[in-house]
């Protein structure tokens, strides 16, 4: 039996793999179900980007808060939001995590520290400054992590939040999920300061760029940033360079991508395949163990879809409830 050379115990590696696999299968299934026309609104899928959410959020507990994006399913799952409630929310059912009124882009669960997916680009950054300020005032060692894309990085909210986090030395982590496209616009065109690390440096924050398809690269960099933030070391920025397997939204024809780009990425830069290869080569997790997890996850997704479809829609009488919530 070989010793474990990784920075995570075997149980934690299993948890990380299960989380990434759950995100992948959740998104692949939503992709199929959305095409059937049963899901209202828009969905933006996180498939291909699992190592980023998982590699960061595995360092967090329920006292830590995250603010997500329009592409938020992966962050929700990694933060521990119930996938049955998520699927019901996406189907607009009364049993959903927001009682069917939020849909894909507004899934939230404050009990898990998940402040919400968010249809407004860059809106998570100021929210997380508030969460980080609260944690700092409480002195409980909590941190706030906000995710945003390469497109949203240009929003004033993000830039103002980095400034605020720097001057108040907040335990806030800014994560740029750089998949290369702001909807369909390449970062080459849309971002004047070409390096997000440069942008962080402009506010006095340390910035790090990692291969976002490598779970261990994300895990290691995020772990150092989060530890530093918990200890009073202040905010930091992490740029994860990654791949999205699907379009910006479901139904996106993806004409802005090169021919064969998605297939090439799935073959060569699939973060789940890379993780599986690494842990199996090291003799820590076997293919059989991972296949067992795969089967278990597929069963959970199947159950979530069936339960969601069978759940009731919100009643007309509920239309004006939950507009404001005390918390």
């Amino acid at each position: 039996m070989s010793t474990n050379p990784f920075p995570l115990a075997k149980d934690d590696l299993i948890k990380a793999y299960r989380t990434m696999r759950t995100i992948r299968e959740f998104e692949e299934r939503v992709h199929v179900e959305f095409a059937k026309g049963d899901i209202p609104g828009f969905v933006h899928l996180y498939a291909g980007e699992e190592a980023c959410a998982t590699g960061i959020i595995v360092h967090l507990s329920d006292i830590d808060r995250i603010a997500s994006t329009h592409r938020g399913h992966g962050h929700c799952i990694a933060k521990g939001v119930d996938i049955g409630a998520m699927m019901a929310e996406i189907y607009g059912r009364a049993t959903g995590s927001c009682r069917g009124k939020g849909g894909s882009m507004h899934i939230a669960d404050l009990s898990k520290g998940m402040m919400g997916a968010n249809g407004i680009l860059g809106a998570g950054a100021p929210l997380i400054c508030g969460a980080a300020l609260a944690a700092k005032r409480r002195g409980d060692g909590g941190v706030g992590v906000t995710f945003f894309g390469d497109g949203a990085s240009n929003q004033g909210t993000v830039l103002e939040s980095m400034n605020l986090a720097a001057i108040w030395n907040l335990p806030a982590i800014f994560v740029v999920e750089n998949n290369g496209y702001a909807e369909s616009t390449s970062i080459d065109y849309a971002v004047a300061i070409d390096s997000y690390v440069d942008r962080a440096a402009g506010f006095g924050l340390p910035g790090v760029t990692v291969d976002g398809t490598d779970f261990f690269a994300v895990y290691e960099a995020a772990g150092e940033m989060i530890r530093r933030a918990r200890e009073g070391g202040g905010p930091a920025l992490l740029e994860c360079r990654m791949i999205r397997f699907f379009g910006h939204f479901e139904g996106d024809a993806q004409t802005y991508k090169a021919k064969g780009e998605n297939e090439h990425n799935r073959a060569t830069r699939d973060c789940l395949k890379l993780f599986a290869a690494r842990v199996s080569e090291a003799g820590v997790l076997s293919h059989a163990e991972m296949e067992s997890i795969d089967r278990e996850v597929l069963g959970l997704i199947e159950e979530a879809v069936a339960t969601a479809k069978a759940a009731p829609l919100p009643a007309a009488a509920d239309l004006l409830t939950d507009v404001y919530v005390n918390y």
Partner: protein
């Protein structure tokens, strides 16, 4: 035929975790582009008319093109003709390798490289006999020395224009070859470290308890990183024959502890069990059987117990322009002196 010079500027060096675990610098893209412009001006001042530049998508190109256009709009003639190589841009180290291959095929007289040890390693793998002029823009930078890039540009310009004899201008450098299971060697310019991590992760080395073995082509107590560990035990010069092998251990259990600058601003205890000089051309087999191999300070290869690994120091592996000697020669020979009016004083 007038010589062409190649410039390879890496937009992604100095972006790793050492900005968090230490306080390493983040040289901004605009600053890197300004370095390219300063180098171009220096080359033009020496009479270099044509320069090939690696394209990239990190932003350097845009800044450089705007700088050239602004100068042209003002009626200046400070820069040579600049052509960006026609090659795919992947945003990975393959861009650097590809650019070096294309520049070599194009017959450039020298390659000016902006980056850290990793960038220079990628160029050395492809440049063959073409001399490099290193400019430090990375994190640890044991290989490229810190110097104002204008001076590097001037020295390169003088050399490629034939104003300085090659025996004065060029320095031979050592290299470390790492062979895994008989495959094509991976190379390191300064250090090969064996560490216990069996994943590449954030790549940089800073957890000293994982260090086990170290091979260096030179051991310099004035640099940052793995070479400094060896340098603080027994300095070995860049131009000295041979290198150094150091067996490392967790500081708590080692025979000796050295406090070494592992990264900028990070001075940590490193456990040392033994060290000895190594000669060129001899294949050394490391003791560590499973873990990662770090080349020039970054984990690049993971190895298992089943694999055969060796490290060999190679002498006269590649050439660099010795800026100090070139500039001293230029001063002594009066290459920068002229009786003409200053505004016409190109060094041709």
């Amino acid at each position: 035929m007038r010589p062409t010079v190649g410039i390879i500027a890496n937009p992604v060096s100095a972006r790793d975790i050492r900005r968090v675990v230490a306080n390493a610098a983040s040289l901004q893209i605009a600053d890197r582009a300004n370095i390219v412009l300063r180098v171009l001006a220096a080359l033009a001042a020496c009479g270099v008319a044509d320069v090939l530049v690696m394209p990239e998508s990190g932003g350097i190109r845009g800044h450089v093109v705007r700088g050239l256009e602004r100068s042209h709009n003002q009626g200046e003639h400070r820069f040579p003709r600049v052509v960006f190589l026609d090659m795919p841009v992947t945003g990975t180290v393959e861009d650097t390798r590809c650019a070096a291959r294309l520049m070599r095929a194009a017959g450039v007289a020298a390659m000016i490289v902006l980056g850290g040890d990793g960038t220079h390693r990628a160029v050395v793998a492809e440049c063959g006999p073409i001399p490099l002029a290193p400019i430090s823009t990375g994190t640890n930078n044991a290989f490229p020395e810190s110097r104002e890039p204008t001076i590097t540009g001037l020295a390169t310009g003088l050399v490629v224009m034939g104003r300085v004899p090659r025996d004065v201008a060029l320095a031979a450098n050592k290299r470390l070859d790492v062979v895994v299971d008989g495959a094509k060697p991976d190379i390191a310019l300064v250090d090969v470290a064996f560490v216990t991590d069996r994943y590449l992760g954030a790549r940089a080395l800073w957890r000293t308890e994982t260090f086990r073995e170290l091979f260096v082509s030179f051991a310099d107590p004035q640099v940052i990183g793995m070479s400094a560990i060896a340098g603080l035990i027994e300095p070995v010069g860049r131009n000295e024959p041979g290198g150094l092998m150091v067996r490392l251990a967790p500081a708590q259990s080692a025979k000796l502890t050295v406090f070494a600058p592992i990264a900028p601003g990070l001075i940590d205890a490193v456990g040392i069990d033994e060290w000895r000089r190594i000669q060129t051309g001899i294949a050394f087999v490391p003791r560590l059987k499973a873990g990662s191999i770090a080349l020039d300070g970054e984990r690049e290869i993971f190895i298992s117990e089943r694999q055969q690994v060796s490290v060999t120091l190679i002498d006269e592996a590649f050439y660099t322009i010795d800026v100090t000697r070139v500039m001293r020669f230029a001063a002594t020979a009066g290459l920068f002196q002229t009786t003409e009016r200053p505004n016409t004083a190109a060094l041709t």
